[in-house]
């Protein structure tokens, strides 16, 4: 049987309008391109060293 307290803790609050701006700026999820770019940067820096 479901434990109410445990289950209700999983519920996340809704995003309010005042928090939308922050959410947009923080929405910097890395995709494959970002990962590849980072890898390239690292490789280049290693070569320079």
């Amino acid at each position: 049987m479901i434990n109410f307290d445990e289950e209700v803790r999983k519920f996340q609050p809704c995003l309010e309008m005042s928090q939308a701006e922050d959410a947009i700026y923080k929405n910097d999820v890395k995709d494959i391109t970002d990962v590849l770019a980072e890898m390239l940067l690292q490789i280049n820096s290693n070569q320079n060293e």
């Binding site: 479901i2 209700v8 803790r9 519920f11 995003l15 309010e16 999820v29 494959i32 390239l40 280049n44």
Partner: protein, 437 residues
């Protein structure tokens, strides 16, 4: 070939001349992103919104600039009642591609109506409040808040899920199922809804049936608990029918019905029916007849009143006529009086203007009669003269005549009249002497 990342030419070794990215890797990543977008689109089309969200998030992990995936994700959030999340996705999308992007249209549509934005914000705040109540254990307040939210925003999936959880905790599984049915209507494969249904003992087959049945729900209509009572009744009827079908359950021992137990019930039902019959059948007809009589009475009274009013107006007219007649008679009388007065005054004027010779003649005749000792003739003439006009001569001869007639008393009266009325008369010495004697 151009680099998919920066647009610069790709070298022969397969790397970008500017950013150095491997073209093949990027192309694979972009293809995978598009694959997940297509998957998400397919899922969204069959209202598997949770599945679509998962697929679209995967698409964005491979290519965060996948505009279609981001726009669709925003649209799904919007459909599930999370407007702010949807707006966030659309804003990011329009930031990556400012022109020819449908996200701009979505943003404009939401922002054009300030009430809509306010409502979305209120919805988020109210839900968060309800969640806080639920976490704090004040479940009644959470119930109230959620019911209010769902009555106004019937697409809000998160709200239904929390409400279902509260009902489940309350032991009210029917109402929890009803809320979850709504969730399945909006989001067919909502994992949390399916999990809760399984927890309540709903089999997978029944969940599928529920999903099919939920398609009949008008998801735009406000959510209330009212129709849940109907479904309770339905389940009761269904259960009863099942019991009847089940021969083991429907078996019951024969028992004689004790009618004496129900006597009081029969009497009270009879009384209620009697009162109802009186109220519904007899009372209205009686009221109608009473109303009719009243109306007739009113009519007859009003007729009498109108007749009397006519008579009164006739009499008033007559009175007016008579008053006019009286006034005219009085006027005529006054005129007559005035004429009479005029006539009298004219008569007096004429009388005064005419020379009075009769008096003088009578006085001279009376003097002659006294000298000839015809005293009684003299008295008559003097009285006649005095009737015509008062004068000293007439009184003088009258007194003389009375002396001659040996009536001293009357003679004195005549001389006294002369003395009093004419003190400067020529006869005054003679008269005074006589009276002093």
């Amino acid at each position: 070939m151009e680099c998919l990342n920066c647009g610069a030419p790709v070298l022969e070794n397969g790397h970008c001349s500017a950013c150095g990215m491997n073209y093949e890797l990027l192309a694979k990543a972009y293809n995978t992103s598009n694959f997940y977008y297509n998957l998400g689109l397919d899922r969204a089309r069959v209202r598997d919104l949770t599945g679509a969200i998962d697929a679209l998030n995967s698409a964005l992990k491979y290519n965060k600039q996948n505009i279609n995936a981001r726009n669709l994700l925003g649209l799904i959030y919007y459909e599930m009642g999370e407007t702010v999340l949807g707006l966030t996705q659309w804003v990011i999308s329009s930031n990556y591609l400012p022109e020819h992007n449908i996200a701009a249209k979505y943003i404009q549509e939401v922002q054009s109506d300030s009430d809509k934005l306010d409502e979305a914000n209120q919805l988020a705040k109210q839900y968060n409040q309800a969640l806080t109540y639920a976490k704090q254990g004040t479940k009644d307040l959470a119930f109230l808040q959620l019911k209010r939210i769902l009555a106004a925003y019937p697409h809000f999936v998160k709200g239904y899920l929390l409400l279902a959880l509260l009902y489940m905790d309350n032991g009210n599984f029917d109402k929890a199922k009803k809320a979850l049915k709504r969730v399945l209507r909006i989001d067919k494969n909502n994992t949390l809804a399916v999990k809760y249904l399984n927890e309540m003992g709903v089999s997978a087959k029944d969940v599928i049936n529920m999903k099919e049945a939920s398609s009949r729900i008008d998801v735009d209509s406000s959510y209330t608990d009212e129709d849940q009572f109907k479904s309770d009744l339905e389940t009761f009827v269904e259960k009863s029918l099942q019991d009847i079908d089940n021969p083991e359950k429907s078996k019951a021992s024969y028992r004689e019905i004790n009618h004496n137990k129900f006597n009081l019930l029969y009497v009270s039902v009879g009384l209620i029916l009697g009162i109802l019959a009186f109220w519904l059948l007899i009372l209205p007809t009686k009221l109608n007849s009473a109303n009719k009589e009243n109306r007739e009475l009113q009519l007859s009274h009003s007729e009498e009143i109108s007749k009397k009013n006519v008579a009164i107006s006739d009499l008033e007219k007559k009175i007016e006529g008579l008053e006019k007649q009286v006034a005219s008679v009085e006027e005529a009388k006054n005129e007559e009086k005035a004429q009479e007065e005029e006539a009298n005054s004219a008569f007096e004027v004429i009388k005064s203007s005419i020379p009075n010779t009769a008096y003088e003649n009578l006085c001279s005749e009376a003097g002659r009669a006294v000298n000839e000792r015809r005293y009684s003739d003299a008295i008559e003439m003097c009285n006649a003269a005095l009737q015509i006009q008062q004068g000293e001569v007439a009184y003088y001869y009258l007194g003389k005549a009375y002396i001659g007639n040996q009536d001293e008393e009357k003679a004195k009266v005549a001389f006294m009249n002369l003395r009093d009325n004419y003190p400067e008369s020529t006869y005054i010495d003679e008269v005074t002497e006589y009276l002093s004697e």
